[in-house]
Amino acid sequence: MVSIAGAVGVAPTVFDLSKQSVRELNKFVHSDLRDVTAVRIDSPNGAHNIAVAVDAPLRIEIDGNVGYFGAGLNKQATVIIKGNAGPGVAENMMSGRVEVTGFASGSAGASAHGGLLVIHGDAGLRCGISLKGADIVVGGDVGSFSAFMAQAGRIVVCGDAAEGLGDSLYEAVVYVRGNIRSLGADAEVQPMRPEDTTAVTTLLAAAGINHPAREFKRVGSARKLYHWNADANQEY
């Protein structure tokens, strides 16, 4: 750990992962950090589990690409990944903000309960799978099976969605600006209501991405899978 010149609490504490271990970094961000508000991580080099389970109002900047589960379980912190993220970025986030300037691999924001995940590039398959209340804004496309079984929260997709969007969706809502290759079982395109327009406008503003809300369609649950239908004969 190296403190850059300046008063503690102003300049970021710097970790260089080409010299220090992820375990050292995570031990530090889990410790009592009354005097630290900012952390910078250099040379992440695709390592796994960078800045996971942070529970403090820190600003963490990561200068490069992260591997699996970057900023997973985040609570309170703002984590900025200046690069690409591996599978499961911000998985199970509780609150705070995680931002990826490049692309994110599969299962971005999986089962996240709260907070905002912003991905400026594309997101891979299963983005927002089993989402439980967080918001996700994707500047590019999302891969197949995104929002699978998503229960609560909102996903804004500025590009296209691949196959099976919103399969077995519960009460989460997906807004898509581009094309939807196919919808999953029980997902349907629904009319945009005034509160949807407000939601898209607010989320895009929070993400710092500019598109008119009227360009988005709403995808929600048709709620046909909520009740067992013996006559369906496993055909949905």
Binding site: S43, N45, G46, A47, H48, G64, N65, G67, Y68, N84, G86, P87, G102, F103, S105, G106, G124, L125, G143, S144, F145
Partner: protein, 297 residues
């Protein structure tokens, strides 16, 4: 879980450094595959009627020098380069005859690959140990296909390590597993294809090679593979002048590509690419599911 790595250099001077650039890539995939690893390196092709055969014999005390003498009496223009328990045999004789004769003369000897360009090394052990044992760092060539294995479908043995080969100058490595390797094997055995291990990947390698021999393009061969393979996979394949990559339609297994004017590098994860020269300015992307990517020398 397994790790795959591939590297194709675009500049002549980098061919000298192919192995040196690759070793950290392979070691970077240790956690994904600590039990065995291997590498197929494609060199400048041998000329004329010559072929190279990569041989493996488990016993470290095996007398390769004596074997070279025996081979020279029987076959034409034989030379042997020994690397631990592997050797590269070069000859102008017909490879099929050697393939049949070698295991009868030396029971337990295996022919790992045949071709004009391919050299193949694979064995059990940590990637760092295997790389050291066969001096991967000094390997030269145009492109290579490497693998680190964490066995799920079959035992940890040298023959179950990857890469797998079929025919000439063709190899494949696999991250994932197939649920129907038996039916793939039975289908191919009826057509006269011979199997040498009990690893699911061998079926995939021989299946795609069979389709290519039948005249399919790689895209057509893989379309058929999507229908016949029940399982999940990222396959990285090497031919004399190409690297090709495909992920299953559900993209169950990862892959990342980094491309610059100097090289194209492929790995299961970015951490195997992080050390590459100027990777910060590389075009880095994740291959899309069920899409075939290929790069030529």
């Amino acid at each position: 879980m397994c790790g795959i790595v591939g590297l194709l250099v675009k500049k002549l001077e980098l061919r000298e450094r192919l192995g040196e650039l690759m070793v950290p890539m392979l070691i970077g995939m240790t956690e994904r595959g600590p039990d065995s690893s291997g590498m197929a390196v494609f060199t400048e092709p041998v000329t004329g009627m010559r072929r190279k055969l990569s041989l493996y014999f488990a016993d470290p005390a095996f007398d390769w020098k004596h074997a070279e003498g025996v081979l020279s009496e029987r076959y034409d223009d034989v030379s042997l380069t020994v690397e631990a328990n592997h050797a590269i045999l070069t000859t102008t004789s017909e490879p099929a005859a050697l393939r049949a004769w070698l295991p009868t003369e030396y029971p337990g000897m295996r022919v790992l690959s045949v071709g004009r360009s391919i050299d193949l090394y694979k064995d059990v052990g940590l990637p760092t140990e295997v790389a050291k044992r066969y001096h991967f760092g000094g390997m030269r060539g145009t492109h290579l296909v490497g693998h680190t294995r964490m066995a799920t479908e079959s035992a940890v043995t040298p023959e179950n390590a990857h890469p797998y080969t079929a025919g000439e100058d063709w190899c494949l490595v696999h991250n994932g597993s197939l649920a129907n390797p038996g039916s793939i094997q039975r289908k191919l055995e009826k057509l006269g294809v011979h199997f040498e291990s009990d690893c699911d990947t061998e079926g995939a390698c021989r299946y795609i090679h069979w389709r290519l021999e039948e005249g399919d393009t790689l895209e057509q061969a893989l379309e058929k593979a999507f229908e016949d393979f029940d399982g999940f996979f990222t396959f990285l394949m090497g031919t004399r002048n190409k690297l090709a990559l495909v992920r299953d339609p559900f993209a169950c297994k990862p892959a990342v590509v980094a491309e610059t004017d100097d090289y194209v590098a492929i790995a299961s994860e970015f951490r195997s690419l992080a050390h590459l020269p100027d990777v910060r300015h590389a075009r880095v992307f994740e291959p899309k599911p069920a899409e075939v990517y290929s790069w030529s020398v």
